[in-house]
């Protein structure tokens, strides 16, 4: 199960990062219309974030797919998807009617509870990798330090 979760989450991150790199201006403008705290009042920071964030997603996706630093990468991915969940919940409750633009044609509808639920599900799955492995380590006496 952890392998499947890693492959799905890593694939999603790679695809999402690649899509954003294909149209960075659109991603920057989407972020701008979201009127996010701090970024909305600082255009230079917003542009820096818009052009850097896809690389963060690509790197994290590559780590999850390759299995290198799998648990730390899963923890970071879980925190990232949890942040997405909170952000999309906030935007949806504020009446934002735009698209999140995260997965292009795979998820092109307006931000709604479906998006929030999917992000929460991925976050939960990532945290499961981290804590399930921790439980296994505890249950195996000869692997304890």
């Amino acid at each position: 199960m952890p392998l499947v979760i890693r492959l799905i989450t890593g694939g999603l991150l790679l695809y999402s990062g690649w899509l954003k790199l294909g149209d960075l201006n659109n991603f920057a403008n989407t972020l701008d219309t979201m009127q996010l705290p701090v970024l909305s009042t600082n255009p230079a920071l917003l542009v820096l974030f818009a052009e850097s964030f896809p690389w963060f997603e690509l790197g994290l996706g590559a780590l999850l797919l390759s299995g290198l630093a799998a648990r730390p990468a899963a923890l970071v991915a879980g925190a990232l998807f949890l942040a997405f969940t909170l952000l999309l919940t906030m935007l949806h409750l504020q009446g934002f009617k735009g698209e999140c633009g995260c997965l292009g044609p795979l998820l092109s509808s307006r931000i709604g509870w479906l998006h929030v639920g999917l992000d929460a599900l991925v976050a939960g799955a990532c945290f499961r990798i981290v804590f399930e492995t921790a439980q296994k380590l505890k249950q195996t006496p000869n692997l304890k330090q």
Partner: protein
Amino acid sequence: MSSPAETPRTLGLGTLLTVAGLTALSLIMPSATGLHAELSEPINLLTRTIDYSLAMENSREGLAVIVDLRPTDDRNKNPVPDGAVIVPEQSNSPEWEKLTPLLESLEGTPVYIIFPPSGEHPAYSKLRSLGLDLWSVEMPR
């Protein structure tokens, strides 16, 4: 892969190193690849507004074009008398392929936008990216 001897402490350290490495990568790569983002000129909704009746008059005289971003219900209840451009709500709709050249040809012509009463329209960012002379229409109360 996870080390069998991994403890919460090493997991914390590994997470910090992962975040640091990914942050460094994401900061270096835009310069290394030359892939940069550019933000469209923001519309100052407070200063670049036009009165509803003047907008209708200018549109009637062919001096400007009106783009109606309101939801269908609102548009049907209170339609723009002389017609307005309606744009698809989804930014990846195939209709954009036909609309984009038309909108791009409006360069130099004032484009008056009727915004939704609340929230955002996905086309808003698309319109901003076209570099048009955009104005916000002040709707009568």
